[in-house]
């Protein structure tokens, strides 16, 4: 069953519109909650007068920051957020107060009646200003100006590396911020009864929401249940606890009635947590043969007003530079600063995207300087299975070379690169990404993923897992793994997932960890259940366990023509032991952390690799760039479900395409969002997206479930530089600033090349 395309188990309900998303849920007596947001980029909140709002008929509760005074945050080192602003607002759109009312219209009117006295403070919007301004502190915990964190990591002998180099390039690159643009906005509905608090929420991380609710609401965890309904896209934007989850819960407790909050599109943009804007300087030395001798990289990340995942983003920015090429010496310096903007966080391809763009474009420039073929320089420097990088990343399996060759072949590289008519070009770039982080976000010894499988006498099994299907298809993956091990049809496997009241803990859907970790846990659980099943059946049949095999839902003597008993009969036989038949599995990564400060970010039990080749058309008169196609080769270890894997590769490639040519999340000179709806935030529709050809490369990872590694994020990285490198082939200009915009392309062309 593994390796054959399977329709997703929730596909039909989604297509028919019967799948229940969070906003589809309606509970008896439900109230509507709404948040009042700051119109100022930076201000002290002197006084919030809620009396007029409270007096409005139909309003059931009004709360402010004082009602939820406990700070929280995704990372233990950045507990700097409040559900509603306490004393200070730090960006336009930050929530200040909230109401629960009988309907949305009353709630909206109530917001208009809340009177907030602000004392305006100077706002910092430019990250380079944030680096030096000591007179304005956006966060008190910033010691130096508004720097959240500075990082310096040095591996190997960098000076010696540059001395050995016969060619050194130093280039500057920038990338603007981008947003996730999930079609489903954030939504949460809270219900508080004598049984405790139940929160249905559109989240990638039910476990962290669970922990944060307990902390902020001061409620024991066992009194809280978090359920993730069907979810319409996350991409990192739902990867951490959000104000609406805390506010809906607090309002439900206050009112004793269910409260639902659904963000509108602008509120999603205010919430952000998207890609950081980057300014980067990259210096690389190579030998005459193009072998990398040393890399020096520095970057400044515009973090926005809060920590979010930012420290991890910062570390990833340097740590992932040692893949997929052999880098013998690396010096990385980075800083993340606070500015008065919506906070940036994790977005698909987290941390690696902007640096990978810089690295791959510079590598092409180096190849061009040396007269080497871009494919050749990549193959010469490639890492291989068994390598350990200079920053201690252990490569268990690697199909990078094969990816490069497959992508190049798909666009006819050797015949066409440098030989197409002016205005047309092909380009290629590589990338690599983690299959989950080896270390959890908060320190603990427990497994990162847990699965319980129970067997039913009717012949089916139920998989219980905390993993959050955010549209990537993890529920289908779990069903497939269980079905494979237990030799059952997909229909015989039920998946119950992402409900903290029922399912065992899974850390959630981020850093591309679910197939690898929950998949391994599921496989282990299924194998345990199978062993118990065999033991029961063997006893009943009077045969040895070794003589039995499981095939297509029946147990039989190995190579016997007749089935001995059905799966259901075997379950009943096994239950003769006197307890229900279950299997449990847990996945905890091996100890992979680097032995240095910061060595916890980057290590993964396995790395995916990829290479994309792009073909573009550049209109030199208008500066318009059309991407004709992307050949996206991705080493995912093993394709458990090829059609699902191709979907992930295509989705990531198209998202990279959008960030290359269109998407900009930024504010104007007053801190107001420039684009806050889908008309002005230009992300590609299906009609704008290029043709993407997914080329799945299978390197069979020894640790992955059936050999599988990540496939959800890694394919974003190479898409961007592949397009930029193709633009060079087409028009002879190197683009160092993303997104590439028609006027910047024209400017580059009129500058004549560099």
């Amino acid at each position: 069953m593994i390796g054959k395309s399977q329709p997703r188990i929730d596909g039909v309900s989604k297509v028919r519109g019967t799948a229940m998303y969070t906003d589809d849920i309606r509970l008896p007596g439900m109230l509507v909650g709404k948040l009042l947001r700051s119109p100022h980029a930076h201000a002290r909140v002197l006084h919030v007068d809620t009396s007029a709002a409270e007096a409005l008929p139909g309003v059931k509760a009004v709360i402010t920051g004082r009602d939820l005074p406990i700070a929280y945050g995704m990372l233990p080192v950045s507990q700097d957020e409040h559900a509603l602003a306490v004393d200070v607002v730090r960006h336009v759109g930050e929530p200040v107060a909230a109401v629960a009312a009988m309907d949305e219209r009353i709630a909206s009117r109530a917001l208009d009646l809340i009177n907030v006295d602000y004392e305006l403070l100077p706002a910092i919007l430019d990250p380079s200003e944030a680096l030096v301004r000591n007179d304005v502190k956006i966060q008190d915990r910033a010691v130096e100006a508004n720097v959240e964190r500075r990082v310096r990591l040095v591996f190997g002998d960098v000076e010696d590396g540059f001395r050995r180099a016969v060619h050194v390039r130093k280039d500057r690159f920038t990338k603007k911020g981008a947003g996730h643009a999930s079609l489903e906005p954030h939504a949460a509905i809270a219900s508080f009864t004598q049984d405790g608090l139940t929160l249905w929420t559109a989240t990638q991380v039910p476990h962290y929401v669970h922990r944060t609710l307990a902390r902020v609401l001061q409620m024991p965890m066992e009194r809280i249940r978090v359920i993730k309904p069907t979810l319409g896209g996350g991409f990192g934007g739902k990867g951490e606890p959000m104000p609406l989850e805390l506010v809906a819960s607090a309002l439900a407790v206050r009112c004793g009635r269910p409260v639902k909050i659904t963000y509108d599109r602008e509120e999603v943009f205010f919430t952000n947590r998207g890609r950081h804007a980057y300014t980067m300087e990259l210096e690389t030395g190579v030998t005459a043969e193009g072998l990398i001798t040393a890399v020096r990289f520095s970057c400044l990340l515009d973090g926005g007003a809060y920590g979010s995942f930012g420290v991890v983003t910062l570390y990833y920015s340097g740590q992932l530079l040692t893949l997929p090429y052999h880098v013998p010496a690396l010096e990385f310096q980075g800083a993340r600063v606070f500015t008065n903007k919506p906070a940036c966080g994790a977005q698909r391809g987290h941390g690696g995207v902007a640096p990978r763009f810089a690295f791959e474009v510079q590598l092409d420039r180096i190849a061009s300087d040396l007269g080497l073929d871009p494919v050749e320089i990549r193959l010469r420097n490639q890492v291989r299975s068994g390598d350990v990088t200079i920053n201690e990343l252990k490569v268990t399996s690697c199909g990078f070379g094969e990816c490069v060759e497959a992508a190049a072949e798909a666009v006819g590289w050797s015949r066409r690169r440098g030989r197409l008519p002016r205005g047309r070009g092909v380009g290629l770039a590589g990338g690599a990404y983690v299959s989950g982080a080896a270390l959890p976000i908060y320190f603990n010894d427990m497994p990162h993923s847990n699965v319980v499988i129970t067997a039913d006498r009717d012949g089916g099994v139920t998989v219980l897992s905390g993993a959050a299907d955010i549209g990537q298809g993890s529920d289908t993956m779990l069903a497939l793994v269980a079905a494979e091990v237990l030799s059952l049809p997909m229909e015989a496997v039920r998946v119950v997932a992402a409900d903290t009241g029922i399912t065992p803990v899974d850390l959630g859907s981020y850093s591309s960890r679910v197939t690898f970790m929950a998949g391994n846990a599921c496989r282990q659980a299924a194998e345990e259940l199978r062993d118990k099943l065999f033991a029961g059946a063997a006893e009943k049949l009077g045969l040895a366990v070794e003589d039995l095999e499981l095939r297509a839902g029946v147990i039989q003597k190995i190579s016997a023509a007749e089935p001995a008993m059905s799966f259901g009969e075997a379950v009943a036989a096994a239950e003769g032991a006197g307890v229900p038949l279950t299997g449990v599995g847990g996945y905890r990564p091996p100890d992979l952390a680097g032995r240095y400060k910061g060595g916890g970010v980057g290590p993964s039990p396995a790395y995916s690799f990829g290479a994309h080749a792009a073909e573009v058309e550049v209109d030199e008169l208008t500066g318009e760039v059309r991407v004709i196609r992307l050949a996206a080769a991705h080493d995912l270890g093993r394709a458990l479900n090829p059609v699902a894997a191709e979907g992930q590769v295509e989705g990531a490639a198209v998202m990279g395409f959008g960030e290359t040519l269109l998407e900009i999340h930024e504010v104007d000179g007053h801190g107001r969002l420039k684009a806050s709806d889908f008309l002005e935030y230009k992300f590609p529709t299906s009609l704008d997206a290029p043709e993407v050809e997914s080329l799945l490369v299978e390197s069979n990872d020894p640790q992955g479930p059936f050999g599988a590694k990540e496939v959800g994020e890694g394919s974003l990285h190479p898409a961007i530089p592949a397009i930029i490198n193709a633009v060079y082939d087409a028009a002879g200009v190197w683009i160092h600033d993303l997104p590439l915009q028609p006027h910047t392309v024209r400017a580059a062309i009129s500058r004549g090349g560099s």
């Binding site: 007053h670 107001r672 002005e680 009609l687 028609p742």
Partner: protein, 344 residues
């Protein structure tokens, strides 16, 4: 964002519609609503009544059986864009209608609604929360244009696709209004409907609605040529950042009755007179087209209130004008030269 509360009236005749608009307080006409409903959600208007013209008998028809095109104001854009005779004789209109929004928007949006589309601006088409953070702009009754603060007027941009094409084709509108207890009808030239002041709106009387959009018969079939080209970042859905419509007649190898009309680069569709003078009576060739395109760009007045840059939008006027002229007349380039050679 939620819709404010309003009543919906569904009149069955034009007379009833204009009477309702004249007598009900704060009433607005509705013809599709793909522009109006989002604006209501943003709280930009607060009508107590919407008078839905789609219930009026006969306003959805597109008739091009006689001379010219006769379109009810509520004819869906998708119907206009699917009419083979319009593609054949009034191609600019077909191309413009086919380029509005995406398929769903063209199914719901109407020709009359598109003609009446409000001007758009980064600083105006915003939620209440966002607008709270800025001072009132001219279009909201304030006294500054946030897109061009040194200017004295509103620069909200005219972003409808079909009007430049309709003006290039010498289109007219029929209107109706209620006055002295009766329905007054009149006919106006499309080009007189607009004013290059973003906050002014259509040059119609209070309560006056467009009932029909008319395109006159082509002056000389076969020799009449027209087209519409549009620049936007996403070819799938966006409003124009720059657009050009051209209509002209080929007679004895020369361009006659030329019209060049720009969209998306000012607060109204702009007749590019200088460009038209460059072309009128001339034999088409690449050089003439390039000169006219330069002249057209001089008529554009983009300000930074839409995606990309004003410079890019102005450039695209040049490029699109030149490309459109080439598309419409390049078959004549060689023949003109051939004729010249023959005369020698």
């Amino acid at each position: 964002m939620i819709l404010p509360k309003f009543e919906v009236e569904s009149p069955l005749s034009v007379e009833e519609a204009v009477r309702l608009l004249a007598t009900l307080k704060v009433a607005m006409p509705l013809a599709g609503g793909t522009g109006l409903i989002p604006a209501l959600k943003l709280g930009l208007h607060n009508p107590s009544v919407l008078v839905d013209l789609e219930s009026v008998e006969g306003l959805e028809a597109v008739d091009c059986t006689g001379a010219g095109v006769y379109m009810g104001a509520c004819a869906p854009l998708s119907v206009v864009a699917a009419e083979p005779r319009i593609w054949k004789d009034w191609r600019a209109l077909a191309e413009a209608a086919a380029s509005v929004g995406g398929p769903q928007l063209r199914n719901v949006g109407t020709i009359g609604g598109n003609v009446c589309l409000d001007t758009r601006c980064w600083f105006y088409d915003r939620t209440a929360t966002w607008r709270q953070a800025v001072e009132r702009c001219l279009k909201r009754g304030g006294d500054v244009c946030l897109a061009a603060p040194r200017s004295q007027r509103c620069h909200a941009v005219f972003a409808a696709d079909t009007p430049p094409a309709l003006i290039a084709l010498r289109g007219r509108v029929r209107t109706a209004r209620w006055s002295a207890e009766q329905c007054i009808r009149r006919e106006r030239f499309m080009e007189d409907l607009y004013c290059d002041e973003g906050s002014r709106g259509l040059q119609l009387d209070a309560g006056e609605i467009i009932t029909h959009v008319i395109v006159p018969p082509v002056i000389s079939a076969g020799e009449y040529r027209s087209g519409y080209l549009k620049y936007r970042l996403r070819r799938s859905i966006d409003f124009p950042l720059a657009a050009v419509a051209v209509g002209l007649r080929m007679a004895d190898g020369c361009m006659r009755d030329v019209r060049v009309v720009l969209g998306g680069v000012a607060s109204a569709p702009i007749m590019a007179l200088e460009a038209m003078q460059e072309l009128e009576g001339r034999e088409p060739n690449a050089e003439v087209a390039a000169r006219a395109a330069q002249a057209a760009a001089r008529a554009a007045r983009p300000v930074p209130n839409q995606a990309t840059t004003p410079g890019q939008r102005r450039l695209m006027v040049t490029v699109l004008t030149e490309r459109l002229l080439c598309k419409l007349t390049s078959d004549q380039y060689s023949s003109a030269r051939r004729d010249q050679e023959a005369m020698k």
